[in-house]
């Protein structure tokens, strides 16, 4: 069974969002997504300062199996990319909700975050896809 932490928000394209105390959000891909992709070998994180819209492809994760786009769950400005992933893409496999985060954004609107799935809704979505 996939790990779905209760304190995060989720998308149907398998990204997670964590609200940080300073008003920014941290984004990554879920345990379900990393498990489906298999061993990651290459991650392209977005440039700091880039403006993205909700649903825009803003990162690429490439595994032994395939390349996949990562979609920004919210609109806003990229304030940090996780540069550790350049040399250690496996962090996403090992800690998808921790050191495997992909980017931090300053959301244009907090309503975007609130409109995302909560853990229960994401788990229900995973169950419906299985």
């Amino acid at each position: 069974m996939s790990n779905v932490p209760g304190d995060l928000r989720y998308t149907k394209s398998h990204e997670w969002v964590r609200a940080l105390p300073d008003g920014s959000v941290e984004v990554g891909i879920t345990d379900h997504a990393q498990n489906a992709l298999g061993d990651l070998v290459f991650v392209e994180v977005p440039q700091t300062g880039r403006q993205v819209g909700a649903g825009d492809a803003f990162a690429v994760v490439e595994s032994v199996k395939a390349a996949s786009d990562v979609y920004s769950p919210v609109g806003g400005e990229v304030v940090a990319g996780n540069d550790a992933l350049a040399s250690q893409p496996e962090l996403i496999n090992q800690e998808p909700y921790g050191q495997g985060w992909i980017a931090r954004l300053k959301p244009g609107s907090l309503a975007d975050v609130e409109g995302l799935l909560d853990a229960a809704a994401y788990e229900a979505f995973l169950a419906s896809e299985a």
Binding site: D39, F42, K65, A67
Partner: protein
Amino acid sequence: MTQRTPLHPVHLELGARMVDFGGWDMPLAYGSQIEEHHAVRRDAGMFDVSHMCVVDLHGAAVRDLLSRLLANDVGRLKVPGKALYSCMLREDGGVIDDLIAYFIEEGWFRLVVNAGTAVKDLEWIGRHAAQAGVKVAPRRDLAMIAVQGPNARARVVSQMPAVYQERVLALAPFFGVAGGELFVARTGYTGEDGFEVMLPAVQAPTFWLALKAAGVAPCGLGARDTLRLEAGMNLYGNDMDEGVGPLESGLGWTVVLDGERDFIGREALVEQKRRGGLRRLVGLVLEDRGVLRAHQRVLAGEAGEGEITSGGWSPTMERSIALARVPAGTGDRVQVDLRGRLVSARVVKPPFVRHGQVLVNV
């Protein structure tokens, strides 16, 4: 209807991620595909290859039949047990399948053909065998386990009945030996030493679990693909198929045109050689970051364009490698259209890795 090998319940029990491969429900990986890859390069790993089809051919004319059906020359198989890798061609030189032929004894050869092509192979072989009076017996009663890696042979022998141990240990590369319903060959498709073991389907789960207990890592099709790619070995359907011949698939070394032997496809290949300008299957090493994938466009400057036929990540080299079909005159450097980004790759001669050693300059 998806088919299942005799080891299917074992794969599920071990928690494998399953995937459809040529109509078979097969393990992709049991855990980390990269760890499975390393297990084979550094120690010992095993693959369920029971989806591949073992076909026994019996009859006085079997050698003559294979001499006509195979582009490689079965005349080279003089000593019982010896194996030969070959393409089976259409009249127009397209590849019906690639296979291994074992010479077991005069009047008895054993073929191992690909899973996805087994039905058409049997139809093709059967049609020619009928005319030659050769009996074709698909052996779906057998399972096949490939055990590969520097420590594979010792582990397999430790789990074999004592009466066979000596003969199996004495096998030279590319030889096999039969003992009752058991057949062990020192062959494989990973670039490492090891055995392929054919045994009655009912015995396969017990043997598999015994090997696992002896320290052989179960490995899925994912690792099998990266291993064979590093070893520069072709995958049927990717690197060659009915639309392209062996001479343009890096398989010229398996085609014997010397002498008078009249095999199916010979005339077409002779004509291709005469015309010249053949494309080449080459190795690519990506110099930039990213992963090369099948079907990506290769730009070879003045020479024209080619295409990646197999691409992926090399866990041993820790960079991306590929096999690509490129036009004649391609130099030692090309560009690849990697999802809209042009990246630079070096052209090398496969294999990339053999027996744990990287053979190309990185």
